[in-house]
Point group: C2
Amino acid sequence: MGRDLTTNAIRRSAPRALVALYLAVAAPTLAATPSAPAQAPSVAETVYTLRPVGWVRKADGTTTIEIDDHYRPALLGVDQLDALWVLYWFDRHDTPEGRSVLQVHPRGDPEQPLRGVFATRSPFRPNLIALSRVRVLAVRGNIIEIDGIDAYPDTPVLDLKP
Amino acid sequence: MGRDLTTNAIRRSAPRALVALYLAVAAPTLAATPSAPAQAPSVAETVYTLRPVGWVRKADGTTTIEIDDHYRPALLGVDQLDALWVLYWFDRHDTPEGRSVLQVHPRGDPEQPLRGVFATRSPFRPNLIALSRVRVLAVRGNIIEIDGIDAYPDTPVLDLKP
């Protein structure tokens, strides 16, 4: 409603090229603002957001998790744990195609019958969360030294749990 | 650059009120489109998105995971597993405040010394991912019957892994 009134007001007063520019740029922006209360979101509309809290680092034969300085207080007590769950993000597969894969041949072997990704550890899956158990060797400041992890260097880390 | 040229062209040709409208509505939209290659994102700018693939259901003493129909092909083979990791979302704590908690008193007991959330299973944490191991009792269509899970009914499920 608001959009149509504005659009008509501009049609009456503005040069044609400017109206075209307005319709191309501003009108879609206005149209994207709902004028009525939203209904309960459907699955497709429900989105949760994650931010990395750290990264896997690999150098000189040592594997560490570097926690972003902002999240360093969350490490209090991690030095007393023998092992941790590390939740991280398969960032190399974060594309619409990578996330649309629902079935895979296990170990990428076409001889193996297809399996649902929920029955595999495939890095292609709808939500790209990876899960590994690691041993805690030492904690120094915001750096956790671990025994190793099946992840590329600089992989974003999402969470740590005992 | 492109934005300034457009803005000046409009300044020359349009009534004053329309220029104000253009600057208020269209110019910010154009400004949000970077004209130079973006730098590597900082932590604060990096955001990953998740969508629920199903929900925890509890009824008549039975606990199930209902997988959204779209993701049903991803269940192929889950019926052959004895147990599953369930990753779900602490949706009751999905607020800026809930996600800013970095230290807690374990079990909410103020007598207990503070601990970093990465050393606890607190549902207050930066990324609200919960993790539980469950037994698979049966799979019927898009419904997985499990032995139980420490989650509220209708909690969104993010992923399943063997």
